[in-house]
Amino acid sequence: MDDLYRDFILEHYKRPRNFGELPEHDHDAHEVNPLCGDELGVQIVIADGRIADLRFQGHGCAISQAAASMASEELIGMEVDEAATLDAGWMLELLGIPVSATRRKCALLSLKVVRHALTGEGSWPGDPGN
């Protein structure tokens, strides 16, 4: 059994949750992984200070797609304030697989685009060199 390409990762990759579009939304953003050119967009609907609904769209590798899919399940229902401050550690723990430095951006792209949508601020969660 592969460390990285575990069953649940491949399962999320092949059948990502909450992928699609939300034409009516409160926040959106779009981000690119400069490493590979992968793109990910998000739309978010807010109600009562919480994320009421969220959809990702785009394409990428198994890691980035599974990360987005798994994150989406956690994010829907979460308080906006909490979602806006999630860090790299949260995402990597949620993924539960050993991600190398080079693939870190694959794993973090979905969190980056969500942060961008919620805060307007587009830096990488827990960038190297800060």
């Binding site: 592969d2 390409y5 590979c36 050119g37 590798c61 198994a62 890691i63 797609q65």
Partner: protein, 427 residues
């Protein structure tokens, strides 16, 4: 199996007529002796950078332990020896590429700096609003972005030659563009780092010149694998990079016509490129030093000389024949593998040692990651060619690329690793 490509030293390469036997060559590259997880390294990322033969490493060590000194302005014996070694590197480059004058050879950090030098020094001075600069949809970013910048600064327009489905550029489209009479410069790659396409650069330069345009050729992928004859190609500017041609990192070459260099303002300024410095103005040193500001990458130039000696001893025609055979074998094996699609020219004939491919349902990143588990190093990326990716309708490709030390067993390992990756994703 039709092709027997330097599989072992006992079974020498027939297909590629080489006689050098890549297995023997491998002995010259210490990194290829490494075992990772008990298995040999299968290095198929040569279009990104090549490995270095022991001779290059020895030369670097010799330079640092016997000659190291700053060059040109030193009178003491170490500086004399170092200057001699550094300038011999220039002469070696000239001979290797059949260029005419040492003073037309400028050392840069790499192809990128070479092209930027032209785009900034030549481009910003000589391009005018209304001028066209022609690039192609298969260019590396280093031969696109500098022209976007020069165009933005001068009002020139950037136009793209299309890439046909078979991975070639259309000379008819080139003629049509040139016929408009407003093309100032044609900037094209000699060999595509994604498709492997070998462009007919001598013909292209000829047509550009006939239309009164200058031509810059990006030789980053060509110099490592073809017999490049700069006199025959006759480009106004030819840029390449040492680290892809068995040389050290941090050194590249721009070859340029002296008349143009004389007219161009300096690019970087500072030490070594001046004749006199007054308080408010300066005058420039002769060519080539006018374009080599500051302390050069001295050791790296000397090391590049050793890389050229090594390539020359193998013979570029032999290297080409060998990589051509490996490429043909790879195309054959990949075509026969389920779920693989290929990019670029269908035959190995007009193609360098680069094969881009896709696996159905598996993102190239995941392909590269899974292949790496089998010690097979390939690249998965947009390969700094996003416009080409858009043309191909993908965000990235997986790419295997060859050096003179690759053997058919490396290709076999690639195919096996691909099959294993497919199992992981199907399982």
């Amino acid at each position: 199996m039709k092709h027997v490509v330097c599989r072992t030293s006992e079974e020498p390469c027939q297909e590629c007529l080489v006689g050098f036997g890549a297995e023997k060559i491998r002995e010259d590259f210490p990194i290829l002796w490494t075992k990772v997880h008990g298995k040999p390294l299968v290095y198929l990322d040569n279009a990104a950078t090549t490995q270095k033969p022991q001779a290059v490493l020895d030369t670097l060590m010799r330079y640092y332990t016997e000659e190291n000194s700053n060059v040109h302005r030193g009178v003491h014996f170490l500086s004399q020896v170092a200057t001699q070694s550094y300038e011999s590197g220039r002469t070696r480059v000239r001979q290797f590429l059949n260029a005419s004058h040492d003073r037309e050879i400028i050392f840069t950090r790499g192809a990128t700096e070479g092209i930027n030098l032209v785009a900034q020094s030549y481009g910003r001075k000589h391009l005018r609003a209304g001028d066209e600069v022609i690039v192609s949809a298969m260019e590396h970013h280093s031969n696109i972005v500098p022209w976007q910048q020069a165009a933005a600064a001068t009002g020139a327009q950037l136009r793209y030659l299309e890439v046909a489905d078979d991975g070639t550029l259309s000379l008819e489209q080139l003629d049509a563009e040139l016929a408009r009479g407003d093309v100032a410069l044609v900037a094209l790659t000699h060999v595509s780092n994604v498709l492997g396409t070998i462009n007919p650069v001598a013909e292209i330069v000829h047509r550009a010149h006939d239309a009164g345009a200058l031509a810059l050729i990006d030789g980053a992928q060509a110099v490592p694998q073809l017999e490049v004859d700069l006199t025959a190609i006759d480009a106004d500017f030819y840029a390449w990079t040492g680290h892809k041609a068995l040389g050290p990192t941090g050194v590249g070459v721009l070859h340029a016509r002296a008349e143009l260099l004389e007219q161009m303002p300096p690019f970087l300024s500072g030490g070594d490129m001046i004749a006199t410095v007054e308080a408010q103005s300066s005058s420039w040193n002769e060519l080539p030093w006018k374009f080599e500001a500051g302390t050069s990458m001295i050791a790296q130039v000397v090391g590049l000389g050793a890389a050229i000696d090594y390539l020359d001893a193998l013979g570029m025609a032999n290297i080409r024949a060998h990589e051509h055979a490996l490429t043909a074998y790879t195309l054959e094996r990949l075509s026969a593998t389920d779920g693989v699609s290929l990019f670029g020219p269908p035959s190995a004939e007009h193609r360098g040692g680069v094969v881009s491919f896709a696996l159905e349902g598996i993102h190239p990143h995941d392909v590269a990651e899974l292949l790496s588990r089998s010690n097979v190093c390939i690249r998965a990326s947009h390969h700094c060619a996003q416009p080409l990716m858009r043309r191909l309708g993908v965000v990235a490709t997986a790419r295997a690329s060859f050096g003179p030390y690759n053997v058919a067993a490396d290709v076999d390992a690639l195919i096996e690793a691909i099959e294993r990756a497919q199992e992981v994703f199907e399982g």
